[in-house]
């Protein structure tokens, strides 16, 4: 059974890229357009992994992780942070927010897929 990925990003280009990349790799993908939408979709759909952007309107990526980790549903889901930042500061912030891992934009398709496969055990 293919893993189900929830991809949260306010850029529709990035959403389209993620969807194309992940679907090609055999994952089922649901997208959300901002943090609030992302948390709502997370509660509706059983996601095996969440990829979230950081800078988003309404609720940022760290807020999303916080909601997931403090929530009632599937709170130990792996969450990948997708960001253009890199370096130790990001790692630290993502870690404190409860992220499982981080991917630096622009992402390499193969690396992304391999990380997701690893984190979902597929």
């Amino acid at each position: 059974m293919s893993a189900h990925i929830l991809a949260i990003d306010d850029s529709r280009t990035i959403r389209a890229l993620l969807t194309a990349t992940l679907e090609k790799a055999g994952f089922a993908v649901t997208t959300a357009v901002d943090g609030v939408d992302g948390v709502a979709k997370f509660q509706e759909a059983q996601a095996d992994l969440v990829i979230t952007d950081v800078n988003m309107p309404n609720k940022d990526g760290f807020g999303v992780i916080n909601d997931i980790r403090q929530g009632q549903v599937n709170r130990a889901v792996p969450v990948l942070v997708l960001t253009t930042e890199s370096g130790a500061a990001l790692k630290d912030r993502a870690r404190r927010a409860g992220a499982t891992g981080w991917i630096v934009k622009p992402f390499d398709d193969e690396a992304l897929v391999s990380v997701i496969k690893r984190l979902t055990g597929t």
Binding site: I14, A20, A76, P78, T84, R95, K105
Partner: protein, 685 residues
């Protein structure tokens, strides 16, 4: 293919983001920006950068990165938004738009434009930011010695509570290690509490030892722990034969999975905030071609509707026939469908106006004038084609207004005007038309100069008697402005005649209202829809023609006392104490009117731009109805006085007349006579 579709989506998204950016920057300039505005401005640039990176658009990414860094300092209040910074941010927004455009057209970036702005942006950054900068862009290259055969590595990790809380599962790590090569897995259970009552699932009790064989180095192993090495006390080392084995409970092939943290019953339910989440998904993107096909079909439907109504009338059914009611319903529905379809094509003028903000900024910079462009009615919707075709005329007019209209600050200082000139660009919907106005508070048109130029170009004779309005309209005369007459800013080889032609082609009109010392207003009036219009069907000399309803003020059956004559064959209509010239449409088109006497005919009082009002004489009015406008330009070229054609209910083709052009032919000469007569009248009283 997939990529090009996503690339298209990227450029579309960039348009939206650039508008958001421009809005936000405008708010910042106005001092209306709150934290959310600053965030939105930052996000726009950030999103462009992020997505551009995916397509390796290096110029966009590089510029957006510096831009974003400055904006980040602005939003964290490290930088104060003073006039100088705002100006640079505006310029940066323009450059970013250029870079996106260049990327779309697959052109190289114009470094001469980009680099100065880039340097200005950088001047706002601390060295700290810039150092971080280089660090980010530095590619990480690693070299390591590779050995012929693999060696064995022992991986030890002790997942902490945080390891689990971050969504990690040791089983997945072990399975990933297993994918690298043959593994032996052992788990150290000494820390497990002996009494189950002491067991806390959120804590980590187990330490895992995995020996992975056949590895060249530890990089692949470390990569698996990329995100979690600090959460599980990771140790990786190459084993040697005499390595002491830890005291552990050995595990067979099967890997024991650590139970996933479960829900804590005491945890309070968090109400989710779902309010705003659905909104953004409520727009539909449609290929414009589909809409165009639909519009054509609606055009046919309306023609078909008039065919049917004609047939029904010819059938001379009793008045009580229910068919009339049905026909009315049909007409109502057809109109509703037509309006609905046109609404799909309707677009707010906002993006168009946003572009003008930039044009105005550049023009102001080039001329050394202080100009504030204020836009109003940005939400006004017009047909997509109108938005596209208005860009050039508006650009030209904005440049003109700044170049010729608004005075230099020092000249403005001599009057009681503020040093900063104001240019207003407004859009509104007025009784079935869209009105776009460009209003400057400059010096007004220099009519003496315009006249001089027109005389020197041979457009008018030196002794011509022209009203102020007619002088103003000389601006639109072909050949009025030439490259030598205009400055290199507004002059791009086109004159106002091109502006007028473009607007006429859209079925619109343009008017000028200028007051010396106070400013000039250009008003563009456009029909709401392009494909279908309300027309008055008229007869002239046995021909059926259509006059656009929007230009008709009233219809008059003149009594002989309403008519006056100048010279041999110039007729005038006296209306409410004023005289307006009468233009005989039959004469204009070389057909024979049904009656020689105007009292047997109908006059259409027309509002035109060039000669204010005139009356067009026609034989009869037949009907008023919606007609589908078909262009004839492709087949017949431009015919003065005719703007298009339509197909009537009986299948015949009727020409749609262009009242403005009709009036311009004879009206000019006539109105001069009228004014001369008026002046005589004033002189004698």
């Amino acid at each position: 293919m997939m990529d090009s579709a996503i690339l298209d989506a990227f450029f579309e998204e960039c348009e939206d983001l650039l508008v958001a950016l421009s809005d936000g920057l405008a708010d910042m300039r106005e001092g209306l920006a709150d934290d959310e505005t600053l965030n939105a401005v930052f996000r726009s640039v950030h999103s462009i950068k992020g997505a551009a990176g995916a397509f390796s658009l290096e110029d966009v990414v590089g510029f957006a990165h510096i831009f974003e860094t400055v904006l980040d300092d602005v939003r964290s209040k490290k930088l104060a938004t003073d006039e100088a910074l705002l100006r640079v941010l505006q310029r940066a927004g323009d450059i970013l738009a250029d870079l996106v455009d260049a990327a779309r057209d697959d052109l190289p970036a114009d470094r001469d434009q980009v680099d100065p702005v880039l340097r200005e942006l950088e001047s706002f950054l601390s060295t700290d930011d810039l150092v971080k900068e280089e660090f980010v862009f530095e590619a990480l290259t690693l070299s390591f010695d590779t050995r012929d055969s693999g060696s064995e590595f022992e991986v030890s990790f002790h997942p902490s509570a945080e390891f689990y809380a971050a969504g990690n599962d040791p089983a997945l790590f072990i399975s990933a290690l297993h994918d690298l090569g043959p593994c032996t897995v052992q788990v150290e259970t000494v820390k497990l509490p002996t009494d189950l009552a002491d067991f806390d699932w959120t804590k980590g009790y187990l330490t895992w030892h995995v020996v992975v064989a056949d590895q060249k180095n530890d990089l692949a192993i470390r990569e698996i722990f990329e995100f979690a090495d600090d959460l599980c006390a990771l140790k990786v080392h190459e084993t040697t034969k005499d390595d002491p084995q830890p005291d552990v409970m050995s595990l067979p092939e099967e890997v024991e999975t650590v139970p996933e943290p479960d829900l804590e019953p005491a945890q309070a339910a968090r109400p989710s905030t779902q309010k705003a989440s659905k909104k953004s998904a409520s727009t539909l993107r449609v290929d414009p071609e589909r809409v165009d096909r639909l519009i054509n079909a609606v055009g046919e439907l309306i023609i078909n509707q008039s065919v049917i109504s004609q047939r029904i009338e010819e059938a001379s059914l009793p008045n009580s026939s229910e068919l009339y009611g049905d026909l009315d319903n049909y007409k109502l529905l057809a109109r509703e469908i037509q309006e609905g379809v046109m609404a799909i094509r309707a677009q707010p003028v906002k993006p168009l106006f946003q572009r003008m903000l930039r044009i105005a900024r550049e023009a102001a910079d080039a001329t050394g004038k202080d100009v504030n462009l204020v836009t109003e009615g940005e939400a006004t919707e017009v047909d997509k084609i109108v938005v596209e075709r208005l860009a050039d005329p508006l650009t030209h007019m904005i440049r003109n207004a700044i170049d010729h209209g608004i005075e230099k600050p020092e000249e403005r200082a001599k009057t009681d005007k503020p040093a900063t000139g104001t240019l207003r660009l407004t859009a509104s919907q007025r009784s079935g038309s869209i009105v776009i106005e460009i209003i400057d508070d400059g010096q007004g048109l220099n009519r003496e100069r315009i006249k001089e130029i027109a005389v020197s170009k041979g457009l008018i004779s030196a002794d011509a008697q022209l009203s102020a309005q007619e002088i103003d309209h000389l601006l639109f005369a072909p050949g009025f402005s030439t490259a030598t007459e205009v400055t290199n800013l507004s002059g791009r080889g086109v004159g106002m005649d091109v502006v007028k032609t473009a607007i006429t082609a859209l079925g619109g009109r343009i008017a000028i209202n200028s007051i010396a010392g106070q400013g000039t207003t250009f008003s563009i009036t456009l029909p709401l829809t392009l494909a279908v219009m309300d027309g008055m069907i008229i007869h002239v000399g046995g021909q059926t023609m259509v006059v656009p309803i929007t230009s008709i003020l009233e219809t008059i059956r003149p009594a002989s006392t309403d008519l006056a004559q100048i010279g041999l064959d110039n007729q005038l209509l006296r209306i409410r104490g004023d005289y307006v010239p009468i233009i005989d449409l039959a004469e204009r088109f070389g057909v024979t009117p049904q009656s020689a006497s105007l009292t047997d005919r109908v006059l259409l009082l027309i509002q035109t731009e060039s000669v204010s009002q005139c009356a067009i004489a026609v034989d009869d009015i037949v009907d008023q109805r919606q007609v589908v406008v078909k262009s004839m330009q492709g087949t017949y070229g431009q015919i003065t006085g005719i703007s298009g054609a339509t197909i009537l209910g009986d299948g015949k083709i009727a020409l749609i007349i262009d009242p403005d052009a009709i009036a311009a032919g004879q009206g000019n000469a006539l109105s001069a006579h009228i004014r001369a007569q008026k002046e005589d009248a004033y002189a004698t009283t």
